[in-house]
Subunit: 326 residues, 2 copies
């Protein structure tokens, strides 16, 4: 019986699984974030190697002679792959590593179909058209400064700007209390040098963050959607941006299932009231979005396919059930 | 005859002037950027001291026993003032330094009135309500991440996003060729990993900049306003943001002259076709904006006032003529 090793290395955690050719899960592992761009090469390769080691040891002796399928946001690059293999050498694991994009892995986590579309909105936002099991076209994912419309950063950034504007004499919003509380800043309502003192403290605290950390305010915005005018309008604009991204992706691949990933899309948008969610469902044009938690099932699907095994609906079901149960 | 030393320390240059109590210019100097936030404490204090030294030496022996009035964006702070005075000690200059905000100095460069409003849009954007010769209320100026709506960064950022979006399948804009040419990037129209190769190069080049450097694209946007749909819409939004800032400031000070500064406002917005400029003129509500190049005249006005000298319209005229002629 052939065995396959698949890894999904995300920003917050790295997950690995060993499966056999019937889709049965033999072992699994989980470790810290494995994205070299955000965690650095050292930390990311250590986390991925850790998750793989756990998966191999729970699978038992003699596991995984097959190549390692690695799903990763940045694609990883050769130095990253070499660093992972070096850490695995003492365990007799030689590779090679087959890298795939996280968007393709996410799509394959939701469906065994080979054509369709995938959308992720977490800290960033990216969409992809999948054709014949490959990534045919990627849209957005160009980062907080240049793109990522409708992402967690995008939402949190608009919230931060709305709060600063409120303190600067602009429209009132309940986001102000929520953001100040999150940052542990009190508004003493004192005016210094022609502006509220709390403003200086808030601005200093916000510039002390890395820009992408503004994504941490996105849940505050979703929590106030429907209750606060500004929060509602930010959520409305975010859903419109997500819908525009989906439409753009569908121009490159009209048919097939639609897979959604990322906390902003799955735990934010999809849980909104029907009235706020409507534009996104309109853009889905009849397809029911399939929400998935991560790309691990898809990494396993792609590992089997890379070994020449066709993944049909029953085999996909076994893979999905086993990996979800871990 | 009493003599006064005034300095306007900006981001790109530091200007100093020695005037007497009749407003006559006795000496002047110019050196590199004197903003400690952007140039660092060392570089900024060296530039300011250099400009002062030039002004004193052209004014001749025995000049300037009075305090030094220093107009500066950040206010400067005591370490900055101490660093400047230390560099001036060998010349027998003891200070003290009287710091004022650049917005107040800008206002006083345009008018001898003591009540009114000032607006700056350069790399950033800030507005202020002036009452009884002091800054009564400051609006915006909270930087590229949190505010500065209608500024050079804001315009250049929108241009960069529009270009990335165009290459990602979005609306066509002539800004794309302009920005790619400025960055020396060629579009080879090759698709790699599901997206145009030029996109990867452009994104890498833009993230390699400090965010505020995106302000460098603002002149490209103004140049295409009226000719390119996206450029026109960015300029229209920028003018609307500047008008909103002006309205906000006017809520805190309804009467008095209106002084404009900063390259985006003076060389950008004010030179637009009447149809694009209209919203800003509407917000000015009958007041004719007085454009000024910098805050040096105002720094001199404030230096005289700090010495108990009333600056009326004739004295203001002498100051202005002398300093402009330098």
């Amino acid at each position: 019986m052939r065995e396959f090793l698949a890894v999904d290395a995300g920003g917050t955690s790295s997950r690995a699984v060993v499966v056999d050719e019937t889709g049965r899960r033999l072992g699994s592992g989980r470790a810290a974030g494995g994205n070299p761009t955000s965690v650095g090469l050292e930390g990311a390769s250590a986390a991925v190697a850790d998750a793989i080691a756990q998966a191999l040891s729970t699978a038992g002796p003699g596991a995984a002679a097959e190549p390692i399928l690695l799903a990763n946001a940045g694609g990883g690059g050769e130095p990253f792959q070499a660093a992972i293999l070096q850490r695995l050498q003492p365990m007799g694991v030689r590779g090679p590593i087959l890298p795939v994009g996280d968007l393709l892995a996410l799509f394959c986590s939701g469906t065994p179909e080979r054509d369709g579309a995938a959308l992720i909105a977490g800290t960033g936002a990216i969409g992809g058209a999948i054709r014949d099991g490959r990534m045919a076209r990627v849209v957005d994912g160009t980062g907080w400064l240049l793109g990522d419309a409708g992402s967690g950063f995008w939402i949190g950034h608009k919230a931060a700007r709305a709060v600063v504007d409120h303190l600067d004499g602009g429209p009132t919003t309940r986001l102000t209390d929520a953001v100040l509380e999150r940052l542990g800043i009190e508004d003493d309502r004192v005016l210094v040098d022609g502006r509220p003192r709390v403003m200086g403290r808030l601005v200093a605290a916000l510039y002390a963050l890395r820009p992408v950390e503004l994504a941490g305010f996105a849940p505050l915005v979703f929590a106030l959607a429907g209750e606060d005018e500004l929060a509602t309008s930010i959520v409305r604009d975010a859903v419109a941006a997500q819908a525009a991204l989906l439409r753009r992706v569908r121009r490159f691949q009209e048919d097939g299932p639609l897979v959604f990933g990322g906390s902003v899309l799955v735990e934010g948008s999809l849980r909104l009231d029907r009235s706020l969610l409507a534009p996104l469902l309109d853009a889905a044009d009849g397809a029911t979005p399939i929400p998935v938690a991560d790309g691990l099932v898809g990494a396993a699907v792609l590992a089997l396919r890379s070994g020449g095994i066709e993944v049909d609906a029953p085999l996909f079901g076994v893979l999905q059930a086993g990996i979800r149960a871990r």
